[in-house]
Amino acid sequence: MLVYILRRLPQTILVILGVTLITFIALQIGGDPTYLFVSERASPEEIIATRIKLGFDKPLYVQYLTYLKNLLLFDFGDSLYFRQPAMKVIFETLPATIELTIFSMLIAVFGSIPFGVYAAINRGKWLDGTLMAIAMLGQSVPNFWLGIMCILYISLNISWLPISGHVPFLMPIFQGDFMQGIKNFPTTVTYLLLPSFAVAFYSLSRNARLVRSSMLEVLSQDYVRTARAKGLTEYTVIMRHAMRNAWLPVVTIIGLEFGFMISGVVVVEVVFAWPGLGRTVFDAIAHRDIPLVQASVVVIALFVIIINLITDLIYAKLDPRIKL
C-alpha cells in the first residue's frame, strides 16, 4: 500500500501544478487588479508603488514562477483583501466546509442505498417508478434553487429548521476545546441539515440510480439465486450477498463526487450564509484576491486527491480482484 501511495506522488504534483497554472491564468484574464487595492484618491505614484509591492509589475511568467517557488517553501502569501496570511484565512473557514461536505457525502452515499435498493427490489412497481422520478428530479434541479425552496417551505413556513447560520463543531475541537465541540454538535447538525440536503440531493439521486442498476445486475447473478435456494431470507440475500458487489460502483464514484460537491458547496454556502471556504473563495474571486484564490484551490485540490486515494484503497479492499 505504501508503494502504491508513493507511486501516486508524482501524479499529485502534476495535478497541483496543473491546477495552479489554470487558476493563475484564469485570474489574470481580468487584467491588473492593482486598482482594487488602492484608495480612490490614490496618486499615480501610490498606484505604481502598490503595483510593485504586490508584484503585479512583473511579467506573468515571473509572477507564476515566484508563486511556485514560494509554494515549495509552503508560503502561500498574504490575502490582499484581508491583509493576513492566506492559509490563516483558509484554516478559519475550512472546518465549516469540511462539516458541510462530510455531512453531504454521508447523505448522498447512505441515503442512496435504501433508495436504490428499494427501487431495485420493487422493479417495475409504483415504488420503483416514484423513486426513480424523484431521482430524475434530483438530477435536474439546481442546488441553489433547492436551497432557497427549502428555506421557504421548511424553515420559513413550518419553522422546522433554521434558515441560515452556523454553530461550529470542528473549529472548537481544532482549537483544543473538545467538550465545546461536542456540546455544539446537536445544534450544528440542525443547521447542517438543509444546506447538506441541498448539496447532496443531486449526488444522492445519481447514486440511487447507480445502486439500482448495479443491484439489478447483481440480483440476476447465479450466486444470488443459489443463496435464495439455500433458504436464506431475502434480507440476508440482499444485505450480505448482493450489497457488497452492488456497492462497488458507488465507491468508485465517491472520489469523483467529492470534487463535484466542493463546487456545489460554494453556491449553497452563499444561500445558507454558511461561513465556509466555498464562500470565501467566491468572494475572493470577486475581489481579485489572487493569493487567497490560489491557496484555496491548492488546498481543495489536495483534499480531492487524498479522498480519491482513500477511495482507491477502499475499492481494493472491497474487491479482492483489484490489485494496487
Binding site: 491588473d32 424553515s155 419553522s159 429548521l161 433554521p162 447560520g165 452556523h166 440542525t190 445558507f272 461561513p275
Partner: protein, 520 residues
Amino acid sequence: MKKLITGVAIVFGLILPSTYTLAAPPDDTFVVGLPTDTKGLEPAQISSRHTANIMKHMFGTLFFISEKGTLDPNLAESYSVSDDAKEYTFKLKEGLTCHDGEPLTAEDVAYTFNRVVDPDLAFVGNSAGFVFPSIDFQEARADSELEVTIVMGAPNHVALGLISEVYVHCKDSYEKMSKEEAAENPIGSGAYEFVKWDKGNQIVMKKAKGSAVSANFENLIWRVIPEASTRTAELIAGNVDMITNASPDQVDAIDASNSAKVQKVSGTRRMYVGFHQGEEYAVTEGGAAIQKAEVRRAIQYAVDVEAICANLLNAPCERATGLVNPNNAHPTLKPYPYNPEIAEYLLDQAGYPRDGNGVRFEITLEAGQGRYLNDKNVVLAICQYLDDIGIKTTCDIMDWSSVYVPKIRKKEAGPMFFLGSGGGTWNPLYDMSDLATVESGPNYTKWTNEEWFKGWKVINNSMDPYVIRREIDRMLEVFYNEGPWLLLYFQPDFYGVSNRVKWQERRDEEVDIFDASLAN
C-alpha cells in the same frame, strides 16, 4: 434496515427539539442582517459603508454627523479654529475611557491620528486614502490632558466633517498590538464593546459601561447573510430585527408579512452617467459629440428618470439638479424634465440631425453589473431612451470588480459610463469635492471646465459663509448647464425592519442602532 431507520428517527428526535426557538433575538438584543462581512476591524483601515456602520458603534469620533446633517459633539465637547484655519483644537469630555478601562485623553486622540499615516502600517482605508489627503493632514498633537490639535496644510471648509470620520482609540492598547492583532481584536471607545467575531457569520458586541454615547440595547449582533432572499426570510421569520440592502423585488413580500415592513429612504448616493471629456474619446464619433455642452444638455431631456425610479427601483424619486444632495443643493434650479421632443430639437440645433437611418451618432455606454440597485436594467433603460432620440447606443455591461472598477479608476471608462458616488448631508462642498481639482481621483470624466474649477480658489480663500455659498451656487449652475454628468437620481435605500423594534433610517447609508428600541 428497520434498526437503521429507528436509529435515525431517534437521533432526529433528540436533535430537532433543540432547533427552533434558538434564533429569535431576546428583548435586550438587536440583530442586524448584513450582505457582507467586514474584512477586518482595524479602525484605520475602514473602506466600506458596511464596516463603517459596524465600527461607529465600537469607536467614538470627535464629532459625529447626525442624520439631519449637523455636526454634533461626541468624544469632544467643543472645538476652535486657529486664525489661519489650519488648526482645529478639540476639547475632550472628561472621564472618557476605552473599553479596556484605559482613560481616553488628548494623547490617545493624537496617537490615533498620527498612527493612520504611519508608513510602517501603510493603511489604505478611508482615513488614510481620503480623509487625510483631503485635509492635507500634517500632524496631531496633544496640547493638554483634554485638548488635542489637528494640524492641516491648508484651510479646508469640510475639515470638521472629515475629521469626524476618524475612529478614536487608546494608545497603550494599540501600541501593544501588531497590525494583524488590531484587525481582529478591536478595543474601542464607543457605545458598544467588542465581544467576538465569528468570521463570515457574525460580529457580537455588548454595551460598554460609561460610554459618552448612550444606547438602548444591551447586545448588538451583526449577522452576515449574503443572499438577499435568505436575509428577507430571516427578517420575516423574526430572527433578525433589521436588514440592509433589502431587495426591491422582495419589498411586497416583506410588507405583506405580519412581522416586518420595508422602510425606504432616498439616499445620498449620486447616480449618474458620466460623459468622458478626455482626448482619447474625443476622436470617436460619440465621444466627440458629448464634448459639446449643447449635446450633453440635450441628453438631459432624453431620460425619464422618474419612470426609472418608479418601475425599476420600486421607489419614487426626484431627479437630481446637480451633484449636491437636495438639502444643500442650489435653491432654484429645477430638475430637467423628461421631454424627448426638446432633446431632439436641441440635438438638431447642435448639428446632429438624424440621418437616413434615423441615427444622429453612435456611442457606447459602459457599466458594471451587480454593484448598484438594479443597475443592469437601469442602464439598459437609459440606452433605450437614447436610442429613441436617435443616439444609437451600445450598452456594454461588464463585471463590476474585476473589469469595470479598474477601467473607472484608470479613467478609461467611456465615452459614457454609469456610476454612483457616495455623498453626504452635512455640507455641499463634501459632495462637490469629487471634482475638487482636475486631477481628483473621482474626476473620472476628466472634466476641465475653467468656470467650475476657478470657483474652488474663491471658496478656499474665503472664510465668509455668504461668499462661499454664492460661489457654490454659481458653480452648481455651471454644472447644471455644462456638467459632465447625465443627472439621474439619488439611489434609494431599502431597509427591512421587524415590527418588534422601532428604528429610524438615515439618508446617508449610515446605520445607527443607538436610539433603536422595542416597539412595545
